[in-house]
């Protein structure tokens, strides 16, 4: 299976600390797969085990259907984009991009052709004889990208490649990386701590926490149907309201009956999850019922396309509500009494 990647129960310990714990995942050829998590979640160590810089203590690393667990990096045939680019300062752009080919002793003519092609792909034609210190951050990023794809690897690993770029450039490069990977049909394994980046670029995301995969799935699925409060809070804004057991049902703030889309909680207390943009806001008195809470606007921030309300509900709890700034909406000023509501399928009951 050219381009397929799999981890089977991979574990890595440093001393008494387990940094990656029993991670399993299967990535089909051509997928753009992101490892997302806070720093220290084990995502970089997981990538290092794929690259071969770190050897797994347990489990297997499979590349292209072959067991690569104990193969050194040079035997894995991967393309790589490193954090801080790792551009060789003593080589010019063309020599940098040629590096993966020249260490394999490829013929000069082939190297020349591939380097030209790779530089054209990242729009750096004409920069061949420059050195890293003569390039901007974005251009260095492109050199790193060209160098990763020059040998036409089936799998490319990227470790926070856009971390050092400013926001505009970042967005630009996100699109470009996605574009190139799609054109080449490369499997990309992408590490980032930026949830927005992960949502924009990925076919699938694995959210890591404390060395484990907390949840894995397509961006929309993990965003809208988180399995845990960690995933809910890590991926964007989330309302996590205290939900208390009341017989075989749960009740929210002020005893509001809850009808959650999914979720089973055995404990006496759980959390009701709902995204701010799924919460509707209306004037006071509009239909009470399940998943509906009266409250008072404490803050209204006008963000342009969205108005963000901070609404104080029963027991002093705060609910965030993002109302799209659509045509003809009424704004609710601070202090106004309002009624919040959401659909059952947009909410989930999660373990606290």
């Amino acid at each position: 299976m050219e381009g397929a990647v799999a981890l089977e129960g991979v574990t890595k310990r440093y001393g008494s600390e387990t940094v990656v714990s029993d991670v399993s995942l299967t990535i089909p050829p051509g997928e753009f797969f992101t490892l997302l998590g806070p720093s220290g979640s084990g995502k970089t160590t997981t990538l290092s085990m794929l690259a071969g810089f770190v050897t797994a203590d347990a489990g297997r690393v499979m590349l292209n259907g072959q067991d690569m667990t104990h193969v050194p990096p040079r035997g894995r045939g991967l393309g790589m984009v490193f954090q801080n680019y790792a551009i060789f300062p003593h080589l010019d752009v063309a020599e940098n991009v040629a590096f993966p080919l020249s260490v394999k002793g490829a013929p000069k003519a082939e190297i020349q052709a591939r380097v030209t092609e790779a530089l054209a792909m990242v729009k750096l034609t004409g920069f061949e004889r420059r050195y890293a210190r003569q390039l901007s951050g974005g251009q260095q990023q492109r050199v790193a990208l060209a160098r990763a794809i020059v040998a036409h690897p089936r799998v490319v690993l990227m470790d926070e490649p856009l971390g050092a770029l400013d926001k505009n450039l970042r967005y630009h490069m996100q699109v470009e990386i996605k574009e190139i990977s799609r054109r080449l049909g490369t499997t990309v394994i992408y590490v980032t701590h930026d949830q927005e980046e992960a949502l924009t670029m990925s076919d699938r995301i694995a959210i890591m926490n404390h060395g484990r995969i907390a949840q894995m799935g397509p961006p929309r699925e993990v965003y809208e149907r988180p399995d845990s409060t960690f995933v809910a809070a890590f991926l964007g804004e989330a309302n996590l309201l205290v939900a208390r057991r009341d017989g075989d049902r749960f009740a929210g703030p002020g005893g509001m009956p809850i009808q959650a889309g999914v979720g089973r909680v055995e404990a006496a207390e759980g959390r009701l999850f709902v995204r701010p943009e799924k919460v509707s806001i209306a004037g006071a008195g509009a239909g009470a019922g399940p998943n509906s809470l009266p409250g008072r606007v404490r803050h209204a921030s006008f963000l342009g396309n969205v108005v963000r309300y901070e609404v104080e509900v029963a027991e002093g709890a705060l609910v965030l509500c993002d109302a799209a700034n659509a045509a003809g909406i009424t704004l609710h000023p601070p202090g106004e009494a309002v009624q919040l509501s959401w659909r059952a399928e947009d909410s989930r009951l999660l373990a606290a």
Binding site: A51, R74, H90, V103
Partner: protein, 278 residues
Amino acid sequence: MPIRTQGALLLLLPSLLLLAALFLIPIAWFLFGSMQEFATWSELVEEAEAVLFSGGVGRSLVNTGWIGAVVTLLALVIGYPMSYVLSRARGLAFTAILLCIVLPYFTSTIVRTYAWMVLLGRNGLINQILLGLGIVEEPLQLLYNRLGVVIGMTYVLLPYMVLTLYAAMKAVDHRLLQAAEGMGATPAQVFRRVFVPLTMHGVVAGVLITFILAIGFFVTPALMGGPSDVMIAMLIEREVEITQNWPAAAMMTVVLLAVTLTLYAVYSRFAEPGEAAR
């Protein structure tokens, strides 16, 4: 900037005064004093030609350059792997290696040279071991020849080479080495195509500083060398102390000083951190 420069000058003033009083003024006085022996320029040039191209001085200059070059090369060959190990060592190992390299600094060159003489002599430790093991039939002549000078000087100069190389190696970004490995380079390729080029400025600096120090050596060649291993500094000393031909000494001093300062100018150009990348 001006204020900072002023402050720096003030802090450097004591050492500048010391340098002026003990080095610059005496050497200027020595050189100008010697020149005054000549009535005209042509007389001076004539004498300079006579001194510098005389057999003894010429041979000594060649000796000095040759010994300096051999010692520098040896120090580089021995020092490069040593510095590499040092740059990778951590904790106790690092302290231990560093101590081994630096500790001899605290002992005087004369003491260290005599120690080598004990080791290398006809009945010295090395010859006894070689004889005892039956490797050689007769004691090797390790002292009072070119070999002795080279061994002694290499030993004394090694720390300068090692510490200069160490500084360059410590500055190498190890992520670059890992990146090279990840892009398919073998360990030998990582070393040759990334590590060596990235430490090249250290090699140049180490070679220059070692060579500069080597060509001014006096004690070690005087004690460990033979009659044909006369280096220029020994000749200068002889002219000053024994034959009292100060003008000749002055001319040789000028040559040595000029070579040293030229090499130093090259060195300071390379040692600038901004130029490190290339």
